[in-house]
């Protein structure tokens, strides 16, 4: 794309999108729907008309002012993985969003090429209405995939990524309309512009080094000064693919707010939903404790922390270890996949080659190994004690058929455990002297030698049995 021009005050004054429209000029011709008829629309009605009677059946009780919102979905340089991720979401599910089957949410009329019943020019009818300003409800635009440098493609007379045709060529000739053009025309009138997935949020893989297309993000294209009609800059839900529920939840959160009952969702300085991307993925990682103990996977498939086989989790904003990939199942490190930073603006080039230890981890892994060499044995020692019933301590025996070879702790270890228990109970109020009114001394607490043989495997009680919490004072 041509570089941004500087105004007299040195400020960047026109975004790439605006410059692109300067080149293309305004449009005022539309498809001849007489000629097109029902072509591509096998039910002779579009998805909105088909669903509306069902979505609006019965008495209407709503939590907010909006009954419906249009959503235009565009694919730049995308793999469709974001669309796929959204079909997997369940909180709330795509079906519910589209049917308005979620209390308080307006029905979303989604214009999506993968899901809609109608195709071809009939699919683009609503798009045309939006440009003409004739839509019957507010709309948002959603971009999946990167924006490209279409100026470059135009130099040789072609395009990189088109989304349908309109009679916008010379003398009303049909020509390809690129994702860039739709976005540039519709973003100014949109209630929100949302980028889904790392390609749309930060350029992603199509913008990797050596790329032929000049791929970039929606923010790069719309510029710093872009605001939607509600005054919101570009909202970014990254991930490659994004977690479907991260996206649906963000959309729902924005709509709760617009309906007047949700708090204003908080976005970070890059337009990410702050409550989803505010933490590093390492902080909620199921393997984090291995890191703390200095235990690292060496082979692929090992259960320990993955940092030395290529995990970037400690410096990556992502929530997959806590949210899971779908329906709370999966998650990269949860199953043995090292984080390659797929949610990050630096992805992929700042994380390659993959499967290699991030150099910056050396300092902390060395420190953790040192600390781990002390705390790991201590934990194992306590763990040994806690893996014993109190009764086994009394009898000095573990009646498990699985552990016949396990020896009883020796005098020193036993004394250590006792000391540990003492420490644990120093402030235990159960040890105080006052009487437990209403509770008699149960036979298991009495030191009555007569009763002891009734205990299974009964025998000698050790002198200082520590069951005193329930003993009368």
């Amino acid at each position: 794309m041509a570089s941004r021009t500087n105004g007299d005050d040195g400020k960047l004054d026109r975004s790439l999108a605006e410059q692109f429209l300067d080149v293309l000029g305004p449009v005022d011709r539309w498809h001849d729907h007489e000629h097109i008829g029902d072509f591509g629309s096998p039910a002779r009605v579009d998805m909105e008309q088909l669903l509306e009677p069902v979505a609006k059946a019965g008495p209407v009780s709503r939590l907010g002012p909006l009954e419906k919102v249009h959503a235009f979905w565009f694919a730049g340089m995308s793999c469709d993985g974001c669309s796929v991720a959204v079909t997997g979401a369940e909180k709330p599910s795509l079906e519910d969003l589209l049917m308005g089957a979620h209390p308080g949410l307006p029905r979303i009329v989604l214009h999506h090429p993968v899901l809609d019943l109608e195709g071809g020019p009939n699919f683009l009818r609503a798009h045309e209405r939006a440009i003409k300003g004739e839509l019957d409800a507010p709309y948002v635009i959603i971009l999946e995939g990167s924006i490209t440098d279409e100026n470059k493609a135009m130099e040789t007379g072609g395009f990189w990524a088109s989304n349908g045709e309109e009679p916008w060529g010379k003398d009303g000739v049909e020509r390809a309309v690129t994702a860039n053009e739709w976005v540039a025309r519709l973003a100014p009138g949109a209630a929100a512009s949302i980028a889904i997935g790392t390609c749309a949020t930060w350029g992603g893989i199509p913008s990797a080094q050596g790329n032929p297309t000049g791929a970039m993000s929606l923010m790069d294209f719309l510029g710093k000064d872009y605001r939607s009609t509600f005054g919101v800059p570009v909202v970014n839900v990254p991930g490659c693919p994004p977690i479907g529920d991260n996206f649906n939840e963000t959309v729902a959160a924005i709509l709760y707010f617009l309906q007047g009952f949700g708090p204003l969702p908080e976005f970070d300085e890059l337009g990410r939903p702050a409550w989803l991307f505010g933490e590093t993925v390492h902080r909620h990682c199921v393997r984090g404790a291995y890191y703390e103990e200095g235990a690292y996977a060496e082979e692929f498939g090992d259960p320990e922390c993955l940092v030395e086989i290529g995990c970037w989790g400690p410096v990556v904003n992502c929530n997959i270890t806590s949210r899971g990939a779908i329906n709370h199942v999966g998650g990269c490190m949860n199953v043995g996949g090292a984080c390659i930073g797929c949610t990050m603006p630096g992805f992929p080039d700042k994380f390659t080659p993959f499967h290699k230890t991030p150099p910056g981890s050396r300092v902390s892994t060395t420190a953790s190994r040192l600390l781990g060499s002390v705390i790991k044995p201590l934990r194992m020692y306590s763990n040994e004690h806690l893996n014993r019933e109190v009764r086994w301590d009394i009898h000095g025996d573990v009646p498990s058929g699985w552990a016949s070879e396990k020896s009883e702790p020796g005098a020193l270890r036993g004394a250590g455990h006792k000391l540990y228990d003492k420490l644990r109970r120093t402030t235990d109020t159960g040890r105080q002297d006052n009487e437990t009114w209403g509770k008699r001394t149960e036979w298991t607490q009495a030191r009555d030698p007569e009763l002891e043989p009734q205990l299974p495997r009964g025998g000698e009680l050790p002198e200082e049995r520590e069951v005193s919490s329930q003993e009368p004072g």
Partner: protein, 634 residues
């Protein structure tokens, strides 16, 4: 084995060599397939028809919706005669992943090429790992291979219902049938479903209602089952569509007994549903065929198919090109090529050396010369072979005569072949080389599938090689493929339990630090022969001094959506659209929805993110059956 078009012959031990005495053996003018009509003749014919006939409608469907990715289809339809005279299909999107991969570390290939497709991202990551590990000489340990199969059968478990219910299904739903063929609706209401026992719907009308987008029971249930299978996938690979636990030489998944048990618990609930799906897609063709025989022509084309095979047997796979014919034939789905209904080979080397890609009608510059005259086994290679191809994108104005798509034109033996999940059923059924298992049996003309007991009792079902080949059979085949793939998943799950019991838990050949050293000076060529929801998938890579110097991806939808080749042969989509009769009812031309064409196109399950334009005229589809001149299977 023998090639019909390419001047390649085989000696007694099956090694290929160029036929002697041919100066420029791979020139497009030397080795020509038999084509009935040139583009010029075809255009002239259409022009004449248009002159004589006032009912010709010329329309461009851009975008074609309810397919994965972006695709456009331009048709010229004769509404009086009820046929399509022209069909141009176009892939309007380029992203350049091959170009991005060139010059990178081979360790980057898996996760970068994964992004070629987000509808089936898992398959690209896997295919890339296969290509890279062949080039690097890294044989995965048994559990690595089995874990890949488990992920990849789960991926099919997501992919097939997604297509059948979200993408293709609506074209057979109540609102569409009532609008386009209202005469069928009363019939559907009284038509008793033979499959009621399995799917629970009394009449065809009930099925059609259930297929309605978003409100229909089958639509919603299908979506839900895609989620369940995705859960199975992410148990092993972390996320979907782009997996996060695969590496050349194996996988990085931490596989515990819980992993296998959780997988098992989910798989167990699929089999009841699989029976239902199969019965629904068995009844739909029967209803339409009975209503009007001409529905058999919707989407018809010759049975020319190609497939790389899928899911390796852990005892056979060794990641070498040298042994690929042996391990290929022991796959859970057999590789092969079918020409005019006959299985001509099951050897991966034959599939590989017969494969070429052309860019005559695509937005790319031609490349010159071949880097490699032969494959690593000294079999001859074409300069148009992926190991010799370069990706040189050049966006240009669209011209139906010249360049009109971002899809290239893959051909095998310069024949137009089709890829699809169902190609697995055809080839596996005919080849009878399937690994032994309790669940699947190939009979030479059918596949017997024994579905274990779930809430419904154990059942044996059988997929027969169909007598006709069309849109309905593609969908039926896809439904059976769902059952097939889930049974392969079950067989592999049992293998995984067995390996775990034996303590063979290692999942990758090298550790990360060994891999780091290993790639530094790596040299070699590799090819991943793998599969996608739509069939054939290959990645070809060349690695020199540790660096990727060429990377070529060929996807099934590139094969199916390909434009004309240098001999004016239309790609499978166009060929199928041209053969499709217009059967919808309309009182005037403005009511033309083109639903028959849409059923055709969607039956291929187009997946354009990694692909695709097709331009064609009627007349090219009649192809002479040409018997192989060298007789015996090489």
């Amino acid at each position: 084995m023998c090639f019909k078009t390419l001047p390649v012959e085989f000696d007694d031990s099956g090694n290929a060599r160029l036929r002697g005495g041919i100066p420029d053996p791979y020139s497009v003018t030397t080795a020509r397939p038999e084509v009935n009509m040139t583009e010029a003749e075809r255009t002239a014919q259409i022009e004449q028809l248009v002159k004589r006939n006032g009912h010709i409608k010329d329309l461009n469907m851009d975008p074609v919706t309810r397919i994965a990715g972006a695709m456009a289809l331009h048709v010229t339809a004769d509404l009086q005669d009820g046929r399509y005279l022209q069909a141009h299909s176009q892939a309007p999107l380029f992203r350049g992943y091959e170009v991005i991969l060139m010059g990178r570390d081979p360790r980057d290939a898996t996760y970068i090429s994964s992004r070629a497709c987000g509808v089936c991202g898992g398959v690209h990551a896997h295919c890339s790992a296969y290509a890279t590990e062949m080039a690097l000489g890294l044989e995965p340990p048994p559990m690595g291979t089995v874990a890949r199969n488990l992920a990849e059968t789960a991926e099919m478990g997501y992919d097939n219902p997604l297509h059948l219910y979200l993408l293709a299904g609506p074209d057979y739903s109540e609102p569409v049938v009532k609008a386009t063929n209202p005469e069928l609706w009363p019939k559907a209401q009284s038509w008793r479903c033979p499959g009621e026992k399995h799917h629970g719907f009394k009449t065809m009308a009930e099925i059609m209602t259930a297929l309605t987008p978003l409100t229909g029971e089958l639509y919603r249930e299908g979506l839900q089952f895609t989620r369940l299978s995705r859960e199975m996938f992410v148990l092993l690979q972390g996320k979907y569509p782009h997996p996060q636990a695969i590496v050349p030489g194996g996988v990085t998944s931490t596989i515990t007994l819980q992993t296998l048990n959780e997988y098992h618990a989910r798989l167990g609930s699929i089999f009841d549903y699989a029976q239902r799906m199969m019965a629904v897609w068995d009844d739909i063709p029967e209803f339409f065929y009975e209503a009007d025989e001409r529905f058999k022509e919707v989407g018809a084309r010759p049975v020319n198919m190609i497939d790389t095979g899928y899911w390796d047997h852990y005892e056979a796979y060794d990641a070498t090109y040298e042994n690929c014919n042996e391990w290929g034939e022991r796959r859970w789905s057999t590789p092969g090529a079918i020409i005019d209904g006959e299985l001509v080979t099951t050897r991966l080397t034959d599939l590989n050396i017969g494969f070429e890609e052309f860019v005559e009608h695509s937005y790319y510059d031609e490349w010159d010369g071949g880097r490699y005259g032969t494959d690593p086994l000294d079999n001859p290679l074409s300069p148009y072979h992926p190991w010799n191809k370069r990706t040189l994108p050049k966006p240009e104005p669209k011209s139906w005569k010249d360049k009109y798509t971002w899809a290239a034109t893959p051909r095998w033996d310069r024949q137009v072949v089709e890829a699809g999940a169902y190609a697995r059923l055809f080839i596996t059924a005919k080849a009878q080389k399937l690994p032994e298992s309790d669940f699947i049996e190939a009979t030479g003309h059918s596949l017997k599938l024994r579905i274990p007991k779930g809430r419904t009792p154990e059942t044996e079902v059988e997929w027969h090689v169909p007598d006709v080949w069309n849109a309905f059979e593609r969908n039926r085949g896809r439904a059976y493929h769902y059952v097939f793939s889930q049974l392969v998943g079950l067989a592999n799950l049992l293998d995984a339990y067995k390996l775990m019991e034996r303590g063979e838990k290692k999942v990758a050949r090298l550790t990360a630090s060994e891999l780091d050293t290993h790639v530094q000076r790596a040299e070699g060529r590799g090819v991943g022969f793998w599969g996608a929801g739509r069939g054939w998938l290959t990645h070809h890579t060349v690695i020199e001094q540790g660096k990727i110097v060429n990377y070529q991806i060929c996807t099934p939808s590139t094969i199916n959506a390909s434009p004309r080749d240098p001999w004016d042969q239309p790609g499978p989509y166009e060929e199928a659209v041209m053969n499709t009769p217009i059967l919808e009812k309309m009182s005037d031309p403005s009511q033309f929805t083109s639903v028959d064409m849409l059923r055709t196109i969607r039956s291929f399950d187009p997946c354009m993110p990694c692909t695709t334009h097709a331009s064609t005229g009627r007349g090219t589809v009649v192809r002479e059956v040409n018997t192989c001149s060298c007789g015996a299977d090489g």
